[in-house]
Structure formats: structure tokens, C-alpha cells
């Protein structure tokens, strides 16, 4: 009787769940067509600048094309002409409006309309000061991006990178901070000795790097807002590739104490070191999974450099090899939700490319096609990657989005290396 009852319950559950399933097989691969209309009673020039920055932010995501000026002129004076926008096959319209506040403040209001529905889908206000109009624009573009794609925007995040310059035959190094579009550069540190391996804490308030300013490699952590910094490790030997754990309490790094590169973890509160790898091969360039339970690193234990993953709760287990295609896969980092890896891959022609490998796949997908791409760093939404390229005599930064856009940052006076994309700022 009991079994019969179970049988009927299972059948009832099945009937209750027998919903109609509708298969959606076709969708558009094309970017959303977006119109941005800038309005301002007070300062049309600033409003136009903001409009331009928002456009550039959104185009770089690969998810948008922006309507051209002629199309924009045709609709900007009309009062929400949804039918006209539909005819022009515009998917979304964003209207930005800049206002001057008291005490020289600024207020940027934006509204986003879904043209197909003829409906307002977001209305928001951002406050700032005149010398922060780039930041205002980045916040607005992130809001527009998020409401349309459902993904958090990264325009208001920051980049960190090292520039090597030569003046009067003197070489010097600068640790630079910039907006995600490369603008608003600030020098965080300048030294006549190399600075390498810059990296961010997950709250984007601290950075860590290796500086040779004392004549030996030392790891520093530095607070962005105050400039306050602390030397957390100096061993008299080479040190490289520090990486903050997600909770910010530890740094994983590569030490060469026994003459061989091995991964260690440094506890920041008492500077206690724990050795993580112990192999005669080189183990280096570690990065943390999003939960901090795994470390990804490059190891030459199979001959050439390949990516391995170590489960930190099972340190006695051997690291698991993750990459198998090609003889060189290095400098890996996780996508934000750990469902894939971004790394440098050397192809059969000897070209170094940035590649993607999903966690449930055993093959890689080359994403760039230059000859010498290196140091990829993933934006916090996992949608964009910044990396360093060598183009002739120039060393500069480039980027791409997984949605298909490619872009280069402006050429700087000097060689730009080792970009690191921050996490979300607020």
C-alpha cells in the first residue's frame, strides 16, 4: 500500500510538472542598436563630452552599436518618437541630461527606453563635480549597460599597469593607475628600479606589487586612497607574482628560496609563510579562484609551461593539470565565476595569443591573433580582457570583449606592461 502510494505521488508530481516547453533556437548575434541623446541647458560642450565617453564605453563592450549623427539629429528634438525609432530599428534610446547644481556641482540624469516596448526601463541621477565628468559618464554607461544586458558594467573600474620610460638615457619605472578607458592616468609609484607584478585586492582599495627599489625584490602593499604602503616581504632572493586572496588576508606569491620557483602563501597579519608547492619544476604565477579555495598556477612539471589547479583544502593531493593543447600555456586567471580560464597560449606558429578555456572543455579558444600578446587580466564582470601587446617598437595595452569588440589603448611615451584590471569600485 505504501509503495503504491509512492507510485501515485510520483505520478502526480510528474503530471504537476508537465509544463509546456517552448524551444527558443534563434536569436540575434548583432549588437544592440542604441541611440544616445545628450541634453543640457547649461553646458552643451560638457554634455557632448559625456555623451562621447558613454558611447565609447558602450562600444568597447561589443554589445552595442551607436546610431550615427544623422540618425541622432533626426530624433533628438522629437518628443519620444517610439514609432520613428522602431522604423530606424533602434533597440534602445538613452537620454542624458546634465544640470549644474549649487556650489559648482553637477547632476547627470539619464533615462533608458526600450524602443520595442515603448517603455522607460531605467531612470537615474548621478552627482559629481566638474573635474569628474569622465567618472560621471562611466557611471552612466555602466547603468545603461546593466539595465540592457543584465550584466554589471565595468566602465567605472580602474586599470593598473607599469610603464618603463627613458629620459636623458636614464631608465625609470612608473606604477600607473587609470580609468578603464586609459584616461585619468595617475602615478602611484615611481622608481629608477624595476616594478613588476602589480595586482589588486578584491575591494579595489589596495594594490600589491614587487619593487626592486631597495636593490632587492620586495613585496609592497599600498592603499590607493592614502598612498600609504607597507613592505610585507623581502627575502634577499627573487620574488614575483603576488595575488591577494578574495578575503584580502593572504597573498599568494612565487619565491625562489631554494633556487627554484615555488608557490607560497603569505598571511598578511603576521607575515607567516606557508609553502604550497614542492617540485623540482618551476611553479609560478598563481591566482585565486573566486571563493579562495583553489589556486591556479603555471608549472613546467610536464616539460613546458602548463596551467595547474591546486585545491587548497586537499594540499596532499597532486595539482590537477588543466591545459593540454600546445606546449605553452601560462599566466592564467579564472573568469569571475570560475567557469573558465584566460591565459597566454603559444600556437604552432610560435605566436603568443590570449586564449580562453571553459571549465567543462578540454580545448582552448584563441581570442587574439597578434604575435606577442601577454599578461591578460580579466575585468570583474568577466566580459572584457586587457593585455599587453608588442607592435614593432611599441609596447602598449589592448583589450577585447568576449562579445566581439577589439580595441587598443593610446600609445604612451614608454613601454607599457603588466596591466591589472581592478574589481568593482563601489
Amino acid at each position: 500500500m505504501k509503495h503504491t502510494l509512492t507510485f501515485f505521488v510520483l505520478f502526480l508530481v510528474n503530471f504537476a510538472e508537465a509544463q509546456l516547453m517552448i524551444e527558443i533556437t534563434q536569436g540575434s548575434n548583432n549588437p544592440f542598436k542604441l541611440g544616445i541623446i545628450a541634453k543640457s541647458e547649461s553646458d552643451k560642450e560638457q554634455a557632448a563630452t559625456i555623451n562621447y565617453i558613454i558611447q565609447q564605453d558602450l562600444v568597447r563592450t561589443g554589445d552595442f552599436t551607436i546610431i550615427n549623427e544623422a540618425e541622432s539629429d533626426a530624433v533628438k528634438d522629437a518628443e519620444l518618437p517610439f514609432t520613428l525609432w522602431k522604423l530606424m530599428k533602434i533597440d534602445f534610446i538613452a537620454i542624458t541630461e546634465l544640470f549644474k547644481e549649487e556650489e559648482s556641482g553637477l547632476r547627470l540624469e539619464y533615462r533608458v527606453f526600450d524602443v520595442s516596448k515603448g517603455k522607460l526601463i531605467r531612470e537615474s541621477k548621478i552627482f559629481g563635480i566638474p573635474n569628474q565628468i569622465r567618472q560621471l559618464a562611466h557611471y552612466a554607461s555602466d547603468g545603461i549597460f546593466e539595465v540592457i544586458t543584465g550584466i554589471r558594467g565595468i566602465a567605472a573600474t580602474k586599470l593598473l599597469y607599469v610603464v618603463e620610460r627613458t629620459e636623458n638615457r636614464e631608465k625609470f619605472f612608473q606604477l600607473m593607475l587609470a580609468d578603464s578607458d586609459g584616461a585619468n592616468e595617475q602615478i602611484l609609484l615611481e622608481s629608477d628600479q624595476p616594478i613588476i607584478s602589480p595586482t589588486w585586492s578584491r575591494d579595489s582599495k589596495w594594490v600589491a606589487y614587487v619593487s626592486f627599489e631597495s636593490g632587492e625584490a620586495a613585496v609592497y602593499i599600498q592603499e590607493i586612497s592614502s598612498g600609504k604602503r607597507e613592505r610585507v616581504l623581502e627575502r634577499g632572493t627573487q620574488i614575483s607574482a603576488p595575488a591577494f586572496s578574495p578575503d584580502g588576508k593572504y597573498l599568494s606569491l612565487t619565491l625562489y628560496d631554494d633556487g627554484n620557483a615555488e608557490i607560497y602563501i603569505l598571511r598578511l597579519k603576521d607575515k607567516a609563510l606557508t609553502r604550497i608547492t614542492n617540485h623540482f619544476a618551476i611553479d609560478t604565477e598563481s591566482s585565486w579562484s573566486s571563493k579562495g579555495d583553489k589556486l591556479l598556477f603555471t608549472s613546467s612539471r610536464a616539460g613546458g609551461p602548463q596551467l595547474y589547479e591546486l585545491n587548497l583544502s586537499k594540499l596532499r593531493n597532486n595539482p590537477e593539470r588543466l591545459t593540454f593543447e600546445g606546449s605553452y600555456n601560462a599566466k592564467g586567471s579564472y573568469l569571475p565565476n570560475d567557469d573558465g580560464l584566460i591565459f597566454v597560449h603559444r600556437n604552432d606558429k610560435g605566436q603568443f595569443q590570449i586564449a580562453l578555456q571553459y571549465a567543462n572543455e578540454r580545448f582552448l579558444r584563441p581570442l587574439t591573433d597578434a604575435k606577442l600578446d601577454e599578461s591578460p587580466s580579466v575585468a570583474p564582470n568577466g566580459n572584457m580582457i586587457v593585455y599587453a601587446i608588442t607592435d614593432g617598437a611599441d609596447s602598449l595595452l589592448a583589450g577585447f570583449s568576449l562579445s566581439g569588440a577589439k580595441f587598443r589603448y593610446p600609445i604612451k611615451n614608454g613601454k607599457v606592461r603588466e596591466p591589472a584590471w581592478s574589481y568593482y569600485i563601489r
Partner: protein, 203 residues
């Protein structure tokens, strides 16, 4: 040993009943909570920004929206003096057209298929497929829709394992917001088929 035939009979019955329940449960719940296994050949993906161009849309649904066709043909002329319908007028004309079409195909199966196709058309128009994702992904969303066609709740029923892909489906559903043609559904059909259904994004 003396065996009671009644015990033997109930034992056999119990065995088959358990076996049936086990197989039934296995078939129904074997994929519960597991990520999708992907078995396919290596492919190289090159990042190419596809140009925005009108792609021929292939759907099996009838295309009753005459007004849109008329309006689209006027795009090339781009004459601002042409009288155009407001969004609400377009919606109402759409509903009228659906009623007309439904009355022509009155069998239940055909009518259900007709509305399924309308839903497919609406969602596909709103869906932007992400690129540079794994092959063979599919994500299921459970939708609850009220009689006016408004999507009341939606939830991820089965993840593809790729957050960008899942998110694209979610965004499409949010963008659809309402199926305007639901007013043409009979109460019986709405209750039996379209009150709660699953959208499976399966390119």
C-alpha cells in the same frame, strides 16, 4: 522450507514495483543539480564583430502583423510625413489580427501551436545570443504568465553552466515583459498550457 504462495506473489509484485519506481525516479531526476556535459570537437573561435544587417528570420509561425510589414516598406522612403501608428495602436492591431488568425485554425492542437509560435517569435526577437560561448548550451526558464500576457515571475529552471548564456535568456525574458496576444487565448487554453511554461534557450 514451506513457502506461502501469497508471500511469493507479493514479493514478485514488490520487486517489480520497486524496480519501476527506481527506473522512473532515475529517468526523472538523474540530471537534477548536475551541470551539462558537453561532448564536441575542438573549435577555434575568432572574435569577429558581426556587422549589423538584417538576417532572414526563419520561423514556422504565421506572420499576421500586416501593419509592421507596411511600416517596414516605408523605411526606405523615410518620409517623416507618413502617418505612423502609436505603439498602443500597433499592439491592439496585433491582438485583432491574432483573433482573426485563431478563428481560422480552430483545432486545439493547431491553435496551441499557433500561440507557441507567437511566443517563439516574440522571445527570439528579444534574444541576443552571446558569442564566444561553448557549443551545445541550453538554459531553461520557468515562466508564470497572467491572463493579460504579463510575465509575473520567471526563474532559472536549469542552468547552462555559462553565466553569460543564462543571462542572455534572462534579459530576453525581461525585455519581452508581456505577450500582447494572450488576450486572444481562451481561458481553458490559458489554464492548461500557457499559465506556466518553460522556455528552453537551445540555439
Amino acid at each position: 522450507m514451506i513457502s506461502n504462495p501469497a508471500y511469493l506473489k507479493s514479493g514478485v509484485f514488490s520487486f517489480f514495483l520497486h524496480a519501476f519506481i527506481f527506473i522512473y525516479a532515475y529517468l526523472n531526476f538523474s540530471d537534477f543539480g548536475t551541470s551539462q556535459t558537453l561532448i564536441h570537437a575542438p573549435i577555434n573561435v575568432s572574435l569577429v564583430q558581426e556587422k549589423t544587417q538584417a538576417t532572414p528570420k526563419t520561423t514556422s509561425a504565421p506572420k499576421p502583423i500586416v501593419n509592421n510589414k507596411v511600416l517596414e516598406s516605408r523605411v526606405s522612403e523615410f518620409n517623416l510625413s507618413v502617418p505612423v501608428l502609436s505603439p498602443m495602436e500597433m499592439i491592439y492591431s496585433d491582438v485583432e489580427q491574432v483573433k482573426e488568425d485563431v478563428s481560422q485554425d480552430s483545432s486545439k492542437e493547431l491553435t496551441t501551436q499557433y500561440f507557441v509560435n507567437k511566443i517563439i517569435d516574440t522571445v527570439e526577437a528579444a534574444w541576443r545570443k552571446p558569442i564566444n560561448i561553448q557549443d551545445g548550451l541550453s538554459a531553461q526558464f520557468l515562466l508564470k504568465v497572467n491572463k493579460t500576457g504579463k510575465i509575473i515571475t520567471y526563474q532559472l529552471h536549469k542552468s547552462s553552466g555559462n553565466i553569460r548564456f543564462d543571462n542572455s535568456g534572462l534579459s530576453a525574458i525581461k525585455r519581452v515583459d508581456k505577450f500582447t496576444f494572450f488576450e486572444s487565448l481562451t481561458n481553458e487554453m490559458y489554464e492548461s498550457e500557457f499559465k506556466v511554461f518553460i522556455l528552453n534557450f537551445n540555439p
